[in-house]
Symmetry: C2
Subunit: 470 residues, 2 copies
């Protein structure tokens, strides 16, 4: 009882003290606006707002390609900090982490017989170099991974293995998951006795542009040079090999650097009531080197930055904080781990996380965090997104982007705004990933969806962890 | 009267003589089949016939790129002769002509400031080389030829001119005629004082692949290196130049060869009645070097060869001869002139000529030779082509391909099967002009149209010269 009386007394004293501290009537704080109306307004404003495309144009023009560990990645870090500050973000900073890097050198590949033909080629990220004078061998062509695995170890001594396995075009990008396995067969092919492994680019296009990408050797496994061919180049070797021997010469002069750094660039739109509760969104700032990283992933950086900027321009910020992260090493890994390591003590305050990393074509579905499909706020979100032709589906988000995998694994809820990937793998990781590849209308529909959804979550009390635990 | 009697007598005697020379009844010669039924049958057979695509696959796989004057052009000549013989053509031979050639060497271009960026570049055919160590200068960007012409001579000393003039996509390809003028400004730019001239590729695509092509300096005019940039590369320089100086380095190590040869490869499907009357059709065997010359112009070679092959496989050849020509130097000129020079004495026997040189997408209209629109045979042709969605238009053919311009100028009638060029200039002259760029269904519709039309003309008595003279 005493305790209760004391608390009541304390409360009344506090009230008095509060009144005494405000001799004049306080100015009426802006009434909390209707969240659905605000989200709808954000959505519609985003459709004609120039912020996002301007951010993307700036990044792709002023920085260009920016692989983790390259000098350009440092310029990208400075660009990100300056851009977030200029757009009104607070708490803007870079979070450094060690990131050994692989850097491309001079590369060439050619058919030398039956006639000389210069091949389009890109060494995969992580491959060893060839001897300085290059290497050569007759091509042996395979069409599936299973076919390649089936040949006996040591049976392809001195050969250059060419895997001409097409990638299937799918709306949800699932063809990539199947085809990308071809990039990880360096040790497998080495065990067959081959001197090099050339794979058809993991690509849905028929362009000669090869597609870069990461590869890995088996731990402790044998290593041979691994490079991607332009799709028609792989087909040409395939067709020629039905007629007779095809002799190939390959040179890769890449280097690795053990002591390079990378940075996740972070900035906040601080919440108006619960600023310690954080919605984490973003894209990745690093890119592959052949293009200027517009769809992968300048778009994701620009879409999420623009969405948060628009929210930050509201007369009243939503209750919770929105944190934009420009992850600094997605392509070769490390950024998500670094972000987790830097924030693991605040993990419980991450309300939800999402990443935009599949270009800028239309979003066609929303997957909400586990257990929240019937939550009133998420149902409101579904209504606001529906006119953008985004369906909210009952299956909860599973994968929200590789940079949030680590915090997701540690318990952070995630959502996923699923983009149409039909065209994405024509371009990604290739020289054709440029500003020109982005459709501004579709891009802005992405900004609209991110702004509306993130606002509704940030202005709510929704507790995804509790809903997911039910 | 005498004379008349004498003729009647002679005729009766001849009849007697004829009967006397055939003691046994002659075997019935195959009745001349209905031409429309035959043309319709050819059309329909072509749609599922593999000859054309097989010819194209063979050329692009076995020979690859084949610029006039290159060693590959000799292999292409031998390929053409062997292929025509194998397909049953007669009178197969190569007609040689002198063809000085330009050959690409090592090439590179890069932005060195504000940050290093490797540009996609191709020297234009005919450009001078840079000094061995390359050259450099600040970029000055123009957007139209008029804008460029308007600056004073000598006012761009030491600069590198970048013309970022887009090519407009049109169904009839007319955007090319406008944009291609940008390739011929080397001397104009040199007079402004610039050290090099870089133009946005004459292309409707947004690929980084540059598009090659011929250029010429003004006769006696000043000369500077001229090269084409990938479209996004020109845009990037353009966008960067709005922010500050853009410094560019260029190296071109091409060479010219005065004593090289080229060949027009010729083969006939000999007519069954009037073998000296000739319908000339074909495509050009030479190609630019970045791709494998599939749409430009392996397709034209393969379409016309396949059409004539199908006609040659009929139980009875049409009355007139069909001559397929694989012209040996269209891209840098000379083949049409050489063909004219070799055949000028037989020009009166060329009934009509046509060339397929705009890829292999659908033909959408037929333009017949002047004066023949209402001719019954051409009206039959219009009916046979209509189900392929080809409209026959009243405007007579004006331009039937650059390899037949010379004989056209000397009086040979021409027709034109106009192809949809909407997609053609995305690819032509670039590394992406490969076998993969060809749609086999559309390709076969081309073969069908050529086979049906050429058969009807070849089996007729139609005299286009007489009709055109009316």
């Amino acid at each position: 009882m005493r305790q209760i009386l004391s608390l009541a007394l304390a409360a009344s004293l506090l009230t008095v003290a509060s009144v005494q501290a405000k001799p004049k009537p306080a100015p009426t704080p802006p009434a909390r606006p209707d969240p659905v109306a605000t989200a709808t307004g954000l959505r519609d404003r985003a459709l004609s707002d120039a912020t996002g495309m301007s951010v993307l144009e700036s990044l792709t023009s002023e920085i260009g390609p920016r692989p983790a560990g390259s000098p350009a990645a440092e310029r990208a870090r400075d660009w990100g900090i300056a851009k977030l500050k200029a757009l009104g973000f607070t708490n803007v900073h870079a979070e450094p982490f060690a990131k050994p890097s692989w850097q491309r050198g001079e590369e060439s590949a050619e058919i030398t017989a039956p006639y000389p033909f210069k091949l389009s080629v890109l060494g995969l990220g992580g491959t060893i170099a060839t001897p300085a004078g290059g290497l050569e061998g007759d091509a042996v062509v395979f069409h599936t991974i299973a076919e390649l695995r089936a040949v006996a170890d040591g049976s392809l001594t001195g050969k250059i293995v060419v895997l001409n396995m097409p990638m299937v075009r799918t709306q949800d990008g699932s063809g990539y998951g199947v085809a990308v396995q071809s990039r990880y067969l360096g040790s497998t092919v080495a065990r067959k006795g081959a001197v090099a492994y050339l794979l058809r680019s993991v690509s849905t296009s028929q362009s000669r542009q090869p597609h870069a990408g990461a590869m890995r050797y088996d731990a402790g496994g044998p290593q041979i040079p691994v490079a991607a061919l332009g799709v028609p180049d792989a087909n040409l070797i395939d067709r020629l090999s039905t007629r007779g021997p095809v002799h190939i010469r390959l040179k890769l002069a890449n280097t690795t650097h053990a002591d390079t750094m990378a940075w996740n660039v972070v900035g906040d739109i601080v919440g108006s009531e619960k600023s310690d509760e954080v919605i984490v969104i973003g894209g990745h700032l690093d890119s592959w080197d052949p293009g200027t990283g517009a769809i992968d992933d300048g778009a994701g950086v620009a879409i999420t930055t623009a969405a948060a900027t628009l929210i930050g321009q509201l007369p009243r910020h939503p209750r919770r904080t929105i944190r934009v992260v420009m992850w600094g090493s997605e392509e070769t890994g490390g950024a998500g781990e670094a972000f987790y390591a830097a924030h693991k003590d605040e993990l419980g305050k991450i309300i939800v996380a999402g990443e935009s990393d599949l270009g800028s074509d239309d979003i066609y579905s929303l997957q909400v965090p586990k257990g929240s499909y019937s939550n009133p706020v998420m149902m409101q979100a579904a209504s606001v997104l529906a006119p953008l032709k985004i369906m909210t589906i009952s299956e909860a988000a599973k994968n929200a982007g590789s940079d949030v995998e680590e915090i997701q694994g540690a318990g952070a809820p995630v959502f996923s705004l699923n983009q149409d990937a039909s065209r994405y793998f024509d371009l990604h990781h290739s020289a054709d990933d440029t500003f020109e590849a982005v459709d501004p209308v579709k891009f802005n529909r992405n900004v609209a969806a991110w702004a509306a959804l993130v606002y509704l979550i940030a202005d709510s009390d929704i507790d995804f962890r509790a809903l997911g635990a039910k």
